[in-house]
Symmetry: C2
Subunit: 340 residues, 2 copies
Amino acid sequence: MNLDRREFAALILGAAASLSVGSAASADDDPLPSWNDGPAKQAILKFVHATTDAKSPQFVPLAERIATFDQDGTLWVEHPIYTQLVYCFDRVPALVKAKPELARVEPFRTVMTGDRDAIAKLGLEPLLKVVAATLTGMDVDTYRDEVAKWITQARDPRWKRTYDQLVYQPQIELLRYLRRVGYRTYIVTGGGQDFVRVYSERVYGIPPEQVVGSAGAVSYRYAADGRPELIKEPKLLLNDDNAGKPEGIHLMIGRRPVFAFGNSTGDRQMLEYTKAGTGARLAMLVLHDDGAREYSYGPAQGLPDTKVGRFTPELYDEATKDGWIVVSMKNDWKRVFAFE
Amino acid sequence: MNLDRREFAALILGAAASLSVGSAASADDDPLPSWNDGPAKQAILKFVHATTDAKSPQFVPLAERIATFDQDGTLWVEHPIYTQLVYCFDRVPALVKAKPELARVEPFRTVMTGDRDAIAKLGLEPLLKVVAATLTGMDVDTYRDEVAKWITQARDPRWKRTYDQLVYQPQIELLRYLRRVGYRTYIVTGGGQDFVRVYSERVYGIPPEQVVGSAGAVSYRYAADGRPELIKEPKLLLNDDNAGKPEGIHLMIGRRPVFAFGNSTGDRQMLEYTKAGTGARLAMLVLHDDGAREYSYGPAQGLPDTKVGRFTPELYDEATKDGWIVVSMKNDWKRVFAFE
């Protein structure tokens, strides 16, 4: 194999380009095939070009390329109830087996009946009892193993698939695309940090240290055999929702995001905080307006108010006023799930 | 330029090797020139080889290569008092200028006299008042700017150098070496997370998101002009010392370190937690036994008990028993500071 200087240079440059991060993808390969051509996709492509092209006046250095994504309703399905709550309910039988006296105590008695209507009528206080009993009291390794097992076994009632398959394919492509151009992708979720960290790397390509979520205290102690362990305590350190999202971002990342993606009022402050930075910033919101392929809820734009993952008319107005991009699941996403 | 297949392959492989991370350095270039040849340096080289050589039975995948370093007394000088406390005292005049009524209130009155003996006699409660008044109440950007200015201007009384020059050169080399072989280096400090994050990237090559430290709450609010801001509150979220170190590592990183380096009883639990993992683990402690080049304090090994950064005989015993490597500043470090 003989190469002249020009051929050799082209080969080396080609190899270097395939190894490098930080530059936008070439125009002829579509990084977002599950997105319809439209204003949302165009806004993403324009933003990536503006912040990663070294000649752009809005170029963002590699170290500052932080993109934060809400999880429930933004990366995966949150209806009819949050997946982590399903986990909590599913854990109750094992809990009662370990502590039989709970079978006679509310709300565990009701949960054990399996009566969905009665369970749905449980108020917030009983619900928090179930959450505390199933998410705390064990060491962090035991909890991780339990979640890891559940997440690949439990199936949702509508699609009969494991919950980790109910992720939105357009968002998986967006996460990959952002990482390919040098963004570090974070999850910033109201859900439990320890819960999401179990599967985030496998499902989203996001490592545990890039998951910010609601977090309880852990306490360091020595087990009977002298080995140190960390026990999950029923004490909330960070309520990572609403104002807690920018607060959690400061605590865990210490940099303001350049890009933020959410879907409900719980993401409002994260998007405001992101957009308040200087230079190019992109804020996006998923609107669940596709009852046929997924779910339909608002109450913005006349969609039903289901109380889970609310996208209010006020949020819609703020998005319009401040240039946040509202993504219509129905119109902007060619495909919702990988299994379609 | 003509190349045959073998020459071409060698060139490409050479370029690829220089771009790759994850393999140990070649034997003929010393990654730790400021370390004397001895058991400490040998332990580091052996550990790196065992965990990064793909053929080693103790090989650690890239994603799990986490190394955590205490800061005060491990990466930079902590005597005669912690640098962040010097910052707090230095801020008092500006504070009194902004709120003149403080000049008549203790402990601010005493601090304003500049009487070092009287200041040294202030108890813990008055000290915490100074800390709270100088580290909280402002938005995080204002605080960052103030620290960034101070850290390049204030000079310590002994060497007459800025505090960010009082970093240990052997540790800078170790941080670089670990990163070169694919470790992510974290600071895990009892000091303030927001304080250390200001200069960690420039001084240690450690970005803000890899600094875990004692952290206060911040609260999201809107300034008079409507812009969102994060205000530092006088409420401690994480006391990142002693048991707080492994607790903070779980909260902020979510993985158990493979390597941990400290220097005092405040690092004990972090080192225990690190060593309790499976596979190769390395735990190290700096012993400050070099009063000539730096400071001499213990009280382990008959060194003076100065109350700042205590290395007790009990800690020394645990290190010996559990195979932690005690680094003698006097014997193991060829050079302490870059400016020597």
